[in-house]
């Protein structure tokens, strides 16, 4: 052990570090941006959750119940359903977390003392997102109702109607049912990004790019040829995770397995394309890894995997919508837990397709065809 030699190494490392501007920038940039981004975006007791309402009668009581729901600040009516089928579709597709159904003749039944039922359907596939709101539901609605109607709070009144909660898809709030589909997407994102993020920079660093560019091959041909083998690998990976999820964690696949397979393939290809895009931008393999990591972190935190999507501020939701994992998690939860059909998740599928094409276009444009 010699201190001078250690010092020599230390100085050399520092000089090299200083020369790599991007690494230097990311060291400052990553912690600051990520801290601000996630510090403000993450909220574990989400409010203003999207709610669909199906109203069979237009009554004062119905209106005040809806107003009271909104007043709790947990619910936000975003959709007015015209039929039960429509409401179900929105819940399956993840468009809304709650559906409130006011039956026909509700007000009259209340006045007659029949104790009619107000149906509240909750998407319990993510227990964190729906739990708090459901807990607050009964008491808050009743006090709001009492105040609105100007009726004295008596024992009789408190039982004027019944709130029938319907926790769908994961009634026992088993965590693994929600986590496994999310993990499927997270694991795929991580592995797929790295596969392709290194592919172009590796050719540049090993010197093989010079030969490759002198050959008659188009950037799009290089890209598709490089992505294709990993689609197969990703597919095997996805199959493995789903199989283990079914066997070990008893996660059901309520919907169609072929549909899940097809959309998983699309998701895999989307991530591979994004990784490949990084690869065309990065100057070396280290930068490619850094970019993948910077992309990976928001995918975990803003996609609805770890924290409820509906609880994030609007700007964070917009960021989330730009991430493939957000859409894929909705697709997987939809198909595996809620039995969603292609019609229910077609919006998410189109979003994935769009992101993939965007990444591919960027990659082909960014690809340097010369050594200039």
């Amino acid at each position: 052990m010699m201190l001078t030699r250690t010092r020599a190494m230390f100085i050399k490392e520092f000089v090299q570090l200083r020369r790599d501007r991007l690494t230097f920038a990311t060291m400052i940039f990553i912690p600051v941006v990520q801290l601000l981004l996630f510090g403000y975006a993450i909220n574990t007791t989400p409010r203003h959750l999207p709610t669909a309402v199906l109203v069979h009668e237009d009554s004062d009581l119905g209106r005040s119940i809806l107003a009271a729901l909104s007043n709790t600040s947990y619910f936000k009516v975003t959709r007015l359903a015209r039929s039960e089928a429509e409401m179900d579709h929105w819940i399956r597709s993840g468009e809304v977390l709650f559906g409130v159904e006011i039956p026909a003749g509700f007000e009259r039944s209340v006045r007659r003392g029949d104790r009619p039922a107000l149906l509240v359907v909750a998407d319990a596939s993510d227990p964190v997102a729906s739990g708090t709101a459901l807990g607050a539901l009964e008491g808050v609605v009743r006090t709001a109702l009492t105040r609105d109607r100007g009726l004295p709070e008596t024992a009789e009144q408190s039982a004027a109607f019944e709130i029938r909660q319907h926790r769908r898809y994961n009634p026992a709030a088993v965590t693994s049912l929600n986590i496994v589909p999310g993990l499927l997407g997270t694991i795929l994102t991580m592995t797929m990004l790295i596969f392709t993020a290194l592919s172009v920079t590796r050719e540049v660093e090993r010197g093989t790019m010079e030969s490759l560019l002198a050959m008659p091959i188009e950037p799009i041909e290089i890209m598709l040829g490089k992505i294709a083998p990993y689609v197969a690998i990703g597919f095997i990976q996805a199959a493995l995770i789903i199989a283990l999820g079914i066997i070990l964690f008893e996660v059901p696949v309520v919907g169609s397995l072929p549909l899940l397979a097809a959309l998983s393939t699309l998701f895999i290809a989307t991530n591979l394309s994004i990784g490949y895009t990084f690869s065309t931008v990065a100057q070396n393999q280290l930068q490619a890894i850094q970019m993948s990591f910077m992309f990976f972190l928001p995918n975990i935190l803003l996609s609805g995997f770890m924290f409820p999507f509906a609880g994030m501020p609007r700007w964070a939701q917009w960021v989330g919508e730009m991430l493939p994992l957000t859409h894929y998690i909705r697709i997987v939860r939809g198909i595996m837990l809620k039995g969603a059909t292609l019609y229910d998740v077609h919006g998410e599928a189109l979003a994935l397709l769009g992101l993939m094409l965007l990444a591919m276009t960027l990659a082909v444009r960014r690809f340097r065809r010369t050594l200039d």
Binding site: R206, G207, T208, M209, E210, S211, L212, L213, A214, M215, P216, I217, T370, L371, D372
Partner: protein, 314 residues
């Protein structure tokens, strides 16, 4: 004119006023040259003189800042895709896949160029290269000489009309170098045009024509006798004892532009014949020295060209 010219023309490469700079530094300036079909054209010059940059501009890997040019009749600015189909470019650094076997590398090249049966083509190339029995060895495990041969084999696999070789024999032993050049001559005899850059003078003498480039400028070109003649260099060979001190005494005398040791003798050269004679006259009296008039070697000419252009450069 173009299609006919391409098919029947005798000119393989023709460039006019080619320039390229990187980050404000001129690497190639106003370079013009012409290479005939079936010729082996040697590209000589010191390190960093712009040889690699010129070769890269010819095969579409770099965009010239100025000038025009055609390779095999195709415009080097606008018809790069076509050039790539008919030009083989062998890079200075080994640029095949180290983690693929010899056979796999060759198959890859054959497929990229759309050859009919890649496996068969690769097999045939392995036989040509004399690598039978080693085709499943990884390319990265080959010695320097074999790597060069494999790279050349991969380059000529799609039967290009023009071959650009960037210092193909750097770091290769003399026997492998000789075999490499025998192969290049065979290819040229079959009609392939070869542009080869090198540092070695003996390799220059194996070329049909040469161009000397230094500091991005083409300083001389033509056949070797012509380049020597055009240098107007007069050279004496002097032999005797203690040549090192003689060299020190000769250096700096007006009229003597170059003093270079050459085995057991010195080459003393000057651009101005009469000035050189006058300078040398003083040493003629020294009995132990023997002076003979000789023709300058190619190396004499290049070293002189380089020192002159260095003066211009400064």
């Amino acid at each position: 004119m173009r299609a006919g010219d391409r098919q029947n023309g005798t000119v393989a490469v023709e460039v006019e006023g080619l320039s390229k700079s990187f980050a404000g530094r001129m690497v190639v300036r106003n370079l013009s040259m012409r290479v005939l079909r079936g010729q082996i054209y040697g590209f000589l010059g010191p390190n960093g003189s712009g040889k690699t940059t010129t070769l890269r501009m010819l095969c579409g890997l770099l965009t010239p800042d100025g000038g025009t040019g055609r390779a095999l009749g195709y415009d080097i600015l606008t018809e790069r895709d076509r050039i790539k189909r008919h030009v083989g470019y062998m890079t200075q650094r080994f640029s095949l896949y180290q983690d693929l076997s010899i056979q796999e590398n060759l198959e890859f090249v054959a497929r990229i160029y759309g050859l009919a049966s890649p496996e068969q083509e690769a097999k045939a190339a392995v036989e040509r290269l004399g690598l039978v029995g080693r085709e499943h060895q990884l390319a990265g495990a080959l010695s320097g000489g074999w790597k060069q041969r494999l790279a050349l084999g991969a380059c000529i696999l799609p039967k290009p009309e023009l071959l650009l070789l960037d210092e193909p024999t750097a770091g290769v032993d003399p026997k492998a170098r000789r075999e490499f050049w025998a192969e290049i001559h065979k290819l040229a005899a079959e009609g392939m045009t070869v542009l080869v850059s090198t540092h070695y003078m003996d390799e220059a003498e194996r070329c049909h024509e040469i161009a000397y480039i230094a500091y991005g400028e083409l300083l001389a070109q033509g056949t070797i006798p012509k380049v020597i003649e055009n240098s107007h260099l007069k050279t004496y060979t002097v032999s005797g004892p203690d040549l090192q001190s003689l060299a020190n005494r000769l250096l700096g005398i007006p009229g003597i532009d170059m003093v270079a040791p050459f085995g057991a003798s010195l080459h003393v050269a000057g651009r101005d014949a009469s000035a050189l004679d006058a300078a040398v006259a003083r040493f003629r009296d020294e009995r132990e020295l023997s002076w003979t008039l000789s023709s300058p070697s190619l190396e004499d000419v290049f070293i002189d060209l380089m020192s002159r252009s260095q003066d211009n450069f400064r």
